[in-house]
Subunit: 240 residues, 2 copies
């Protein structure tokens, strides 16, 4: 189907998906570029495709002007897709909790690392950046289709699970070297926001305060890096 | 001194520093927010301050309208600074080489991690993002004032040093686990660009191809994360 008017109701509907509110209402989100579309298709999450290049055979053929309205990128993609949101599955044994993570790039990075280091569940606090934000989807490089990510209230999450898992909370001051408490077959690893770290109100749930061994001249690592190194270390000890 | 006109020559001069060309010509760059200004001052790199808040006692008091022109951020800083570029010192023994790194956030992240994991020299290829890009400076969190970063042509760099250091190049396919070649007291660790990895033309300089142990379901890690984990591992082995 061809659409040439920017005022077409379908275009308005797609545009609204740039806002979290409408993604939540419709359970849909936008993905850009072919690699992501192939991943979505392979995993049965692709609803429809929208493109400016007839040879890619999109469900909807649109103009460049409309694509510029829909796309988040400076250099326009030839094709974008509308996807169904991912189902939230049961939580597993190797859990990464993200408390108030705001940077979309950091979330995408941590999702990639979580797959690399065998995390089976990511818990995203309800005040974190939206998983379906275009920048998160892009920086995760399509790996979201192979993960289990649950958005929830952390207080009830910790209350439910506090005696069932060791809960590891990063703390640069009172933390001990992560290596000292390994191996762990089952854990909840909590990473805080970029500026503040893990919220004080959650520290009472900690079984262990942990940190990464480093030169003190560096006040803190980037949140994506810190989380990734911790996941890496836990995974290394598990396999040794 | 007070400046109220957006056409003041000083304002035009500062504005030009948003472009790499003028930063290179003048050897100056802009920093935003108080923490960075304090770091620059402590290290004697601060030339002058420009602010909208009289109580902060800036060298130049400007209007919000002018600040909006100078600042890179959505929420305006109260004060910004003009800094002298950092001197490039002699290279050391623990060297991180960044080949064609384009993402300013990744560069800032890698600079922070390099200080955390005791790298003494960063070599930035001349086709990488500019070190003095506002986003790099911001994501490095002021740590640039405590590092030695040299921008240079990588071919001549490798030609000069190829028999003097082990040269470690990341390669997901033919790389061996970084742990197998540790400890190293002296090394050149090469990290490639976000999409392509290390350029083919540099692979002939490799003493070792290395990789990070991970689940193959993840095709690649974020460049900032991969580099940070490798620096972390090398640093851990050195201290053990």
């Amino acid at each position: 189907m061809q659409i040439t008017s920017i005022n077409n109701p379908k275009v308005k509907e797609w545009c609204k998906l740039k806002l979290k509110k409408y993604r939540d209402l419709t359970n849909l989100f936008i993905i850009e570029n072919e690699h992501l579309i192939n991943e979505a298709k392979k995993n049965n999450f692709l609803k429809e495709t929208i493109g400016i290049d007839e040879s890619l055979n999109p469900d909807y053929l649109i103009t460049k002007e409309i694509m510029a309205k829909l796309s988040d990128q400076k250099s326009l993609p030839n094709i974008i897709g509308i996807c169904y949101k991912l189902p939230q599955k049961e939580i597993g044994n190797k859990i990464l909790v993200l408390d108030n993570l705001q940077d979309p790039g950091n979330l995408g990075t941590l999702i990639r690392s979580s797959v690399a280091f065998n995390i089976d569940t990511i818990i995203l606090s309800d005040d974190s950046v939206d998983l379906y934000n275009e920048k998160v989807i892009r920086s995760s490089e399509g790996i979201i289709f192979n993960t289990n990510i649950v958005r929830t209230n952390l207080t009830s999450f910790f209350n439910n699970l506090q005696n069932k898992y060791p809960i590891l909370i990063t703390d640069v001051e009172k933390g001990e070297n992560i290596k000292n408490i390994l191996p762990l077959k089952k854990f909840i690893l909590v990473i805080g926001s970029e500026g503040q770290g893990v919220k004080e109100e959650y520290k009472k749930y900690a079984t262990n305060f942990i940190k990464i061994n480093m030169n003190e001249a560096c006040e803190s690592l980037n949140a994506g890096v810190a989380g990734s190194i911790l996941m890496y270390e836990i995974n290394e000890a598990y396999h040794e």
